[in-house]
Symmetry: C2
C-alpha cells in the first residue's frame, strides 16, 4: 500500500495521519451501513493514493500559521471529492479505465451502477467531513461556511464537474491553449486551489492571504495536470498506477498533445515557478514549496 | 408545463414561487458557465415536476411558525437533490428509463456521461442553495449548520444513495417487509423526512418539534413510495409522466409486488394516517395535512 516515492519529510509525516483520518472518518460515517453500500465507498477512498490534495491543505494551513493536528480530519474532505471524481472518470462511458492506483477500478470490482452511486455518496460525505472537523479545530461559524462554500463551488458546475463536461465535449477535436486551460482549470486546478485556500481559511488567514494561496493552488493544479498528461504520453504506467496512453487513444485535450512533449515540460516548469512566486510573505512556506517540488518531480 | 393536478390552494400558491426560485437560483449559479455544462443541469431541474419536497419543506416551515417568503429559496435545495437522483435512477445501467416527467430523460437528450456529471453537479449546488438562502432568511449559524448536515446525511450513504444501492442489490430476489422498508426509507423517505424537518429547523423549532416533523416525513415518504409503486403496477403512465410497468420488468422490491395491490393500498393509507397523527400540537398543520392528502390522492 506504500506509494512508490515518499517525497519530503513533511509528506512522510502527514500522509500516515491523513490515511488514519480517512479510515476513522469512514468507520464512523459508515457504522451500521450495509456492506453493499459501504464496501464500494471504502474501496474507492482507501485505495493507495498520494493524498496530494490533503497534503496541500495541511501544508497551506501550517504555512498560514495553523497548528492543530486535527487539520488531517478537515483534509479528508478534499480527498473524498477527488476519490469520487476518479470513480466517475474511470466509468466505461467516460475514460473506460480498468486499472487505478494499481487495482481494478470501482466499476470493474463492484459493477457500473454501484460505482456511480458510491461515487455520488462521496460528495455529501465530503461536506460532512468539514462539519465534523471544523468545531473541534476551533474554526468559527463564518469560516466553516466559507470552507463548505469553497469546496462545493470547486466541485460543481463552476469547477470539477464543469471541467469534466468540457473535457468530454473536447474529445476528438482541436482546442486552443485558452480552451485547454479552461478545461484543466475546471477538472483539476479548482479542487487543488480549494485544497490550498481551505488550509488558509481554517488557519484564520485574511482574505488577501487566502486569495494568494488560491492563486498558488490554481497554478500548481495546471502544472499537475500537464505533468499527468506528460506521464501518460510517456507510457509510465507503473508510476501512474493506471493504463498509459489513454489520453491519446481518447484524443483528449492535453498540453503534450497540443504543444509536443518538450514544450509541455517547459510549460509545466513555468507553471510551478509561477506558483512558487505566489508563496512570498507566508509565515512558513517551506512545506508548500517542497510539495510543489515533489509534485513536479514525479515527471523525472 | 402545468402538472396534471393542481391540488390544494397552498400548492397552487407556492409551486409557482418554487419554480421561480429554482429558475433564479440556476440563472445566478450558472451565469458564465458554458452551455455544454449548464444545459443538461437546467434540463434536469427545470422539467415539469410536482415539487412535492419543496412544498413539504415550506408547509412544515409555516406549520412551525415560519413566515419568510424566502423559504422558497431554501426549498430549492431538496428539489436539486431529488432531480439529481432522478437523473441517475434513469440511466441505462440503473432503471434504463427513456421518459421522465413526460420528456426524454437527461441521458437520452444529452448522452450518458453528461447525464452522470450533470446529476453529480446538483449535489454541491444543493448545499450552495442552503448557504445562499439561510442568511437572508435570518437563520442563525448553528441552524444553518444543521440544515446542511440534515440534507447531506439524507442524501448520502445513510440515506438516498444508500437506499438506491440496496435497491439494486434487491432486484430479482425475494425480500421481506423489513428489508423493503429499509430500501424505501433510504431511497425515498429520508429525503422527504429531511425536507420536512429542514422546514422546522429553518423556522427555529426546538429539537422535539423537529424530530416530530421528521417522523411525519419518514412515514409520508414510505406512503409516497408505496403509491408510486402502485401507480407503476397499474400502468398509469400519463399520471407518472414515465414508462409504466418498469418495476415488474426490473423485478424491483415493491409493496404491491410483495403484498399484492389491495394490501399495498391499505398499507399506504395506514402510513398516511400514521403520518397525520404526528401533526398534533403544531401551530398551523393545515397545509401539511392537506399536502399529505394530496400525495395519497394521486392514487385515486
Amino acid at each position: 500500500m506504500t506509494p512508490a516515492r515518499t517525497g519530503p519529510a513533511f509528506v512522510a509525516e502527514w500522509r500516515d495521519r491523513v490515511e488514519a483520518a480517512l479510515d476513522g472518518f469512514l468507520a464512523r460515517e459508515l457504522a451500521g451501513v450495509a456492506p453493499a453500500v459501504a464496501d464500494p465507498i471504502r474501496y474507492a477512498v482507501l485505495s493507495p493514493g498520494k493524498r496530494i490534495r490533503p497534503l496541500l491543505m495541511i501544508a497551506a494551513y501550517r504555512a498560514a500559521g495553523g497548528a492543530s493536528p486535527r487539520i488531517a480530519d478537515l483534509a479528508c474532505s478534499v480527498e473524498l471529492v477527488h476519490a469520487y471524481s476518479l470513480v466517475h472518470d474511470d466509468l466505461p462511458c467516460m475514460d473506460d479505465d480498468v486499472l487505478r492506483r494499481g487495482r481494478p477500478t470501482v466499476h470493474v470490482r463492484f459493477g457500473v451502477a454501484p460505482a456511480i452511486l458510491a461515487g455520488a455518496a462521496l460528495m455529501p460525505l465530503a461536506v460532512e467531513a468539514i462539519l465534523a472537523a471544523a468545531r473541534p479545530m476551533g474554526v468559527d461559524d463564518a469560516r466553516r461556511r466559507r470552507l463548505v462554500e469553497t469546496l462545493t463551488v470547486a466541485s460543481g458546475a463552476n469547477g470539477m464537474v464543469g471541467g469534466q463536461l468540457l473535457d468530454l465535449r473536447a474529445e476528438g477535436r482541436e482546442v486552443g491553449r485558452e480552451e485547454l486551460e479552461a478545461i484543466h482549470t475546471g477538472k483539476t486546478a479548482r479542487l487543488i486551489g480549494a485544497s490550498v485556500s481551505m488550509g488558509g481559511i481554517a488557519a484564520g488567514a485574511d482574505g488577501e492571504r487566502v486569495a494568494q494561496l488560491e492563486r498558488f493552488g490554481l497554478r500548481l493544479g495546471l502544472a499537475f495536470q500537464a505533468i499527468d498528461d506528460i506521464l501518460d504520453l510517456r507510457g509510465e504506467t507503473s508510476e501512474l498506477g493506471k493504463e498509459s496512453g489513454r489520453d491519446a487513444a481518447l484524443r483528449k485535450a492535453t498540453y503534450p498533445g497540443l504543444f509536443g512533449l518538450a514544450e509541455a515540460e517547459r510549460i509545466s516548469r513555468d507553471l510551478v515557478r509561477d506558483a512558487q512566486a505566489e508563496l512570498a510573505g507566508l509565515e512558513a512556506p517551506g512545506a508548500l514549496r517542497d510539495l510543489a517540488g515533489y509534485i513536479i518531480d514525479r515527471s523525472h
